[in-house]
Symmetry: D5
Subunit: 167 residues, 10 copies
Amino acid sequence: MSSSSSSTVTAQGLPTVLSDLPPIFTALYQSKVTKKLSFEQIASAIGRNEWYTAAIFYGQAKPDKDDLDKLSKALDVPREELETNLGEHFYPNRGVGEWPPKDPVVYRLYEALLVYAHPLKAIIHEKFGDGIMSAIDFYGDVEKVPDPKGDRVKITFNGKFLPYKRW
Amino acid sequence: MSSSSSSTVTAQGLPTVLSDLPPIFTALYQSKVTKKLSFEQIASAIGRNEWYTAAIFYGQAKPDKDDLDKLSKALDVPREELETNLGEHFYPNRGVGEWPPKDPVVYRLYEALLVYAHPLKAIIHEKFGDGIMSAIDFYGDVEKVPDPKGDRVKITFNGKFLPYKRW
Amino acid sequence: MSSSSSSTVTAQGLPTVLSDLPPIFTALYQSKVTKKLSFEQIASAIGRNEWYTAAIFYGQAKPDKDDLDKLSKALDVPREELETNLGEHFYPNRGVGEWPPKDPVVYRLYEALLVYAHPLKAIIHEKFGDGIMSAIDFYGDVEKVPDPKGDRVKITFNGKFLPYKRW
Amino acid sequence: MSSSSSSTVTAQGLPTVLSDLPPIFTALYQSKVTKKLSFEQIASAIGRNEWYTAAIFYGQAKPDKDDLDKLSKALDVPREELETNLGEHFYPNRGVGEWPPKDPVVYRLYEALLVYAHPLKAIIHEKFGDGIMSAIDFYGDVEKVPDPKGDRVKITFNGKFLPYKRW
Amino acid sequence: MSSSSSSTVTAQGLPTVLSDLPPIFTALYQSKVTKKLSFEQIASAIGRNEWYTAAIFYGQAKPDKDDLDKLSKALDVPREELETNLGEHFYPNRGVGEWPPKDPVVYRLYEALLVYAHPLKAIIHEKFGDGIMSAIDFYGDVEKVPDPKGDRVKITFNGKFLPYKRW
Amino acid sequence: MSSSSSSTVTAQGLPTVLSDLPPIFTALYQSKVTKKLSFEQIASAIGRNEWYTAAIFYGQAKPDKDDLDKLSKALDVPREELETNLGEHFYPNRGVGEWPPKDPVVYRLYEALLVYAHPLKAIIHEKFGDGIMSAIDFYGDVEKVPDPKGDRVKITFNGKFLPYKRW
Amino acid sequence: MSSSSSSTVTAQGLPTVLSDLPPIFTALYQSKVTKKLSFEQIASAIGRNEWYTAAIFYGQAKPDKDDLDKLSKALDVPREELETNLGEHFYPNRGVGEWPPKDPVVYRLYEALLVYAHPLKAIIHEKFGDGIMSAIDFYGDVEKVPDPKGDRVKITFNGKFLPYKRW
Amino acid sequence: MSSSSSSTVTAQGLPTVLSDLPPIFTALYQSKVTKKLSFEQIASAIGRNEWYTAAIFYGQAKPDKDDLDKLSKALDVPREELETNLGEHFYPNRGVGEWPPKDPVVYRLYEALLVYAHPLKAIIHEKFGDGIMSAIDFYGDVEKVPDPKGDRVKITFNGKFLPYKRW
Amino acid sequence: MSSSSSSTVTAQGLPTVLSDLPPIFTALYQSKVTKKLSFEQIASAIGRNEWYTAAIFYGQAKPDKDDLDKLSKALDVPREELETNLGEHFYPNRGVGEWPPKDPVVYRLYEALLVYAHPLKAIIHEKFGDGIMSAIDFYGDVEKVPDPKGDRVKITFNGKFLPYKRW
Amino acid sequence: MSSSSSSTVTAQGLPTVLSDLPPIFTALYQSKVTKKLSFEQIASAIGRNEWYTAAIFYGQAKPDKDDLDKLSKALDVPREELETNLGEHFYPNRGVGEWPPKDPVVYRLYEALLVYAHPLKAIIHEKFGDGIMSAIDFYGDVEKVPDPKGDRVKITFNGKFLPYKRW
């Protein structure tokens, strides 16, 4: 996608939460739509996890230089434009969307916490002691598990346990 | 635990969120403390998942008759008292604690959603189409993954994909 | 249920939202639990709709004298106690629970509005003109529709159309 | 409607909640106004329910390819423009308007929940057990019921019952 | 009502918003219920407007000495108890109930403001200039206007116009 | 006012709450300012109540065809422009401004409810039974009552009483 | 007041905001009521400003030893009880009441800030430069200014100007 | 300042809260900056209090015709432009900025109320009886009081006492 | 302090935020008051930092077995009572008080973040890269720095830098 | 950076919170990015602390004339443009970003207060008496402390203690 063509196909079905982000994210998304690439395909092209790749598109992760090289190639967005906007000086302002969420997909995850997070806290303490699961030294995965009664979404959160320091 | 002894050791270090629940939950929790049983042990005694077992203790899941039998035995809480309070007529009023959460353990899960839930929505749609992951036909798991750099908390969400109906 | 026995079996699995209501509602609920009566059975005994009957138990509808007579008989709560508390001078303070709701059953109804209420407003205006569906001259119904793929909940809202007055 | 004419008749009495959506929704709405088509007529043209059709116009439902073909014809909006904006890659960001709602039409529905939703939860549990009514495997209907004392709005919610999984 | 009898008939159908007020208000309300007196009758007995009289019962107005004398007689509440609690040193903490209101009666008044208050501001400025209608040098009235199509509630707000001072 | 001149005198002292409404409301308001017409004069020209007329200008009421004819003449806004924007397909999105209100004129009305609405609910129930005052089958009036101690603002709310239906 | 008598005259017309404070504040307030002392009289007895004295009664200021001596004498509350509760170890948890305030007296002060605080910020900067008026090195005064057109309330805020430090 | 030059020096260090107001306020502010006039100087030129003058600049007070004449001269803003925007038809929409305030200057005033407003209410009632200090028949003053330990900001609020009407 | 004496000196000037915690915290606090021990002294007795020691008293840190031994000795609270309530099974529900805070001491810290936290984020990224300062592997210190112009409060936050993981 | 070049490299990876500020802040930030200057380097060039320097870039501190001179040189932004926008008449509107914060870096600081601020209040009172740490006569520092187990972020808050005045 050249930057000029980008202005003629502005904001095709752009997810609402992206419209609050700087224009580079619109450009990335539009190129993805025009090229009919899935996040899985882009993830494969840049050597990252599919979910993490989507996080880059939502301004929630910081791509490194190598990611920018590969994104530029995969999406045909000029390397320089990526460098200028998402380069070394760029740090994500994390936290996206309205909370509590209204969209049902996002709400169900939120609801799972409303119901199961306090019991989970109890389990974590029993298994690990006083501390938390890191959301920084963290990775996750989304998987489609075929099931004759209806396929299942399997989401994994994997974070380092960080014990509270006593001082 | 006899119900009389229960009144003399009221509310030992009871998690704050339990204090809003009916007294039966205090009784269950106190017995667990007195008997020094972990959720893992209770789960094993009643044949349920550890996380789900904790959810029962936090009033977030409905035990069936068999669960009540086994809970009564494992915790020495009179079967009748359980039946009276958590029997057939009892349905959980789900949703526990204050949101957004202040406790760091719960907050990290919430933060993971703030950052990664919208990207996750995009992945779910690409993998499954228009629909959601159910939080009802849902189960989860918590695992301790030993790691020389620091053990890791691995949490799995597993929900049936429910496609939106067109009408 | 005699009022004395009521004090020994206090608040068996009482729905949390009822705990904010005056004690008469606890008494009604406890009697229903003790007698193992469903709302359907009570509704049939007092000649009201099942959903409406539940609304009386949640302090959301005003029973008339005849309702009190029949409730007294069906639930074995002294007629005088009902008269004293829910008699002529009693008017419901309507609106129950926390909003937005956390409980998933209530939330799904709320979500249906988040998604479909504005489109519904458009339809109502096209079909009826400028006005609203009354929530006062209103009745509803809940039905269980057997379905081999999973039974369905069918809820009907039926309110008089009230046209806006021009002045 | 050609896309050029669309710019000269911008936003005629456009419902406020639509102004937050991408421009394609303005285009759809304007064409509907210009052609003096009701949702009932459009629904009939595309073979969908009237309420569901309005939900498409409010960005709350995902039209399939066939819907886009028929919408294009019915509303004279270029098929390509619809494909580009509401095609395969488009997934609704559901949840529209401000909540609690201020508009009286929407508020009355919300009020019906404030008053009757918790009693309804009790009924659903008694009739179906522990679970919810799906808002995903869900459809509804709006009907005008003539009545000499004033016509009535009859709204039906019909959702699959989903039992809570024990694990 | 003697104060001893008052304790045996506690809180008969007491409006929820009164339960946050000091016990004297419960006593006043209970006596009103026991004696089956309407606000209109009490107002007539103490020589005040019916609406204003109700405001005293809700802790929203300060009775003067003469009011206390007459209230004591009309309701059979000891003069001294009234003096002790609502005497010279008592000043109302005005503002009652939860806002936005959930109860439909109160909400309709609130809704009338949501819709008509800004237009009203414009009218007030055009008729009176820059200033406000006082809510302090204020009185009101509620009237039942018989109408064959349905009786009407007529509420009057009457406040002194207070012009903004320039300085 | 011709639509061309309108663009050169944009938004003269336009009330802030109008700036959220579609441009037609700016046009109406500007014409009113330019022609130095009061709402009283416009009301007289279109045969509506002064307060209701202001409500049309704030997008809170739906003018009928006759209103549009007369507004077009009185304000010199092209009939077609009114039809296009406020015609048959237009339905107000009611509810204007920020709540709780900050502007003192609007706040005083809100405060009158904070203080007197719950007592008013009690009076309405005593006079009419279980039901509400309609805010739909509703009209009102604003009057200037000369008073040597300071003129008074007299506001009347007049709504049909709607009894709750039992079912 | 002896502590025994205090229990028989509990909470006479106690301002609602005091009911959240520890019991010592109820005791102080009740004694003031019983002895019919104004804040002006108590202030004079303890040698403090009237407004500041009231702040002590609302738990918003820390009395020193000398204040406790004098309060004990003036109000007949045992010195030891004051020492135990409001002694050296006591530090106020400042901030009282619900905000935004509903009570009209408190609201008018809040409204004066809504309207005039930002203009005041501009004046302070012009007069003093970059900094703030301290709310800690602060005192105030309330005065009644007789005026034939109606007495006036004159409130003075006097705080040290604190310039922002550059670093 | 001519209106043309105004466009080239747009929004110099314009206070954020002004950016929500109509453009005339930007023009007034820019002229003040360009001419290096303090509010004190402008106040002196128009014969108003310095604080009140700032309130005009923040859209919180309604200037009269004479004020507009003098503002036009003092600030070199065309008289007609002022008349068009702030003339007879203009009435302030009072209430400016975000509340609770974040800016420390404004917050300190707010904090003074958090701490001292309820005690102040008690004092006002003791000194004046049941009523409020008007925020309408109100004026204030800001003074710089030199002090060797650090100059002090002295702010005076002066409002008419308005007794509650009994009815 | 024996547990019996504890009941006679209940809640002496107990900080409001402690009143939401389980009774053991009241007991600890009361003993501290009775024994006139500062946190510095208790910290020294248990070998912990002063600030951390206070955190234990506010239910914000988990004491280990050794801490309980020493606390029991220092405060004369029975070891068993501590074990029962704050023993192995106890895990803090962290997050104390109302936010935004009203108390000025707490607010100033909050304000420092309102003003300086985003600039701080920028500095942290420049110095460390993409990641956060841990609030778990964290300790702090409070120091009194004598200064002739006024002593200074010096607070140190010291947290491990945690780099975001890429996946 | 010349002001013309600035328009061609608009808003490169501009932190979201800066987008609410006047354009001068975008210009400063862009120049910093283009020149690849760290805050440390700029701080060194203008003789200010690194954190404070960042605060200037976020509109949270008022630069003096000398700061403007040096910023102009260091960043190649015309001195006059800085003077016009950030000169004598400019006073920061302090308070930046959304609170509670969503970004994890900012949240961790906020969380440290949720957990440790009330204990800190207790320590400050014990060490200094009744008063606060100033956030005005305040400075801070950020340091990178190398540590083999992971570098640490050390943040210092240093504010003058301000004792509450008694009056």
